[in-house]
Symmetry: C2
Subunit: 227 residues, 2 copies
């Protein structure tokens, strides 16, 4: 039997992570039992505790597996753009696309489960459990710093707080859009056919975010009225 299939290392680990992505997306963390999860992964009930230590550790591993490469890709793309620009400031749209594109490209491959992950991620920013939110925050921190200073360079005239809030809004729009892919019906009343056309969605989302980012500053009068 020289042609026996080579068993990849950590095959069970991977099957568990894939099953977890799908089930956590469908039923949430607490709503997914280890029994259901290991059954779907074709593994023994004890496998999660053996390979990861605990359910919480599995969740952490799940996010690290996808989030680290995704954010590294974003930063690399930003580096590339700045390299190409050769000292000139980037257009805000380029920075937005570098960020948004990474998520949307992942949603396109239903095959390797990226879509499950992205939807799960989108709703985890607002997870009730603080230690989960802070894990996400920690995994995002380096990329977020990088993008913040990129925006600052492109928009030197924009006040610091204003930029932070607008990034917050942009981030939220993206998160919600990815997490709530079936909630468009909430507004549409029925399913639009082009829900999953990632290219079209990217065009629409980018136009919206870019305009929001570059919106006229609230008038001094408005701010004074608020204060």
């Amino acid at each position: 039997m020289t042609l026996r299939a080579i068993k990849p290392p950590h095959e069970t680990r991977t099957r568990i992570l894939d099953a977890a992505e799908e089930l956590f997306m469908q039923h949430g963390f607490e709503g997914t039992s280890m029994r259901l999860l290991t059954a779907k992964a074709g593994a023994n009930l004890a496998a999660v505790n053996y390979h990861f230590g605990s359910k919480d550790a599995l969740i952490e591993a799940l996010f690290r597996r996808r989030l680290d490469p995704m954010n590294a890709g974003r930063v690399a793309e930003l580096d590339r753009l700045e390299q190409d620009a050769g000292g000139r400031a980037l257009a805000a749209e380029q920075i937005i696309r570098a960020f948004v594109g990474a998520s949307l490209r992942m949603i396109e491959d239903a095959k390797c489960g990226g879509r499950n992950f992205i939807r799960l991620l989108g709703r985890t920013y607002t997870d009730p459990q603080k230690h989960i939110r802070s894990l996400i925050g920690q995994l995002y921190a380096p990329a977020m710093e990088r993008f913040k200073s990129a925006f600052e360079r492109t928009l030197p005239q924009m006040p610091r707080d204003e930029l932070i809030w607008r990034m917050h809004f942009m981030f939220g729009t993206l998160a919600y859009t990815l997490a709530a892919t079936d909630t468009v019906q909430l507004i549409a009343g029925c399913k639009p056919e082009d829900r999953y056309d990632a290219r079209l969605l990217e065009a629409r989302l980018t136009a919206f975010l870019l305009a929001g980012l570059l919106a006229p500053l609230p008038s001094a009068e408005d701010v004074k009225k608020a204060a």
Copy 2:
């Protein structure tokens, strides 16, 4: 004892709903046990099942209590604006403020628990459980229709799908902003002091949403490239 306090009807019901708002916001639906909940409400463990029937029914009652009046208020405000306009089209900003204002006004009163509800609501749009999402959708449907046609009247030149998506984006930005009030740190790196100044937040949010809604349409070239 003629001065004995009048016992309001359903006093326990109300205490349970208030406790549920706070605990569901802190720990999520599945993460909040009936024992913790009833203890916080100062009620017996069986009280929820007696007054509501089940935990799910409690969740439904919780959303109906706040969401129905809130959306009725939004529609009434829109009616009032259109009355005042006397046939002339409303400004997009007025429509946005009518929608956004209702949420932000509720976040201002930490006293009667509105803030808890709003944060809980914001994350429930993307709840894993489909029957919860569809409950929310059902409770929003009438107001959403009303706002959609208001936007259509104000923006007659905008294609239907584009409007639906932009409303989706706006809705998502609002939902995320309200749900993830502590996630600004994700971008800021530290807590900005004006996190909870609802007036200032409203000015910032409205400026962002208005610009996004009125963003230039993606060029025909972009759409073609996507299709």
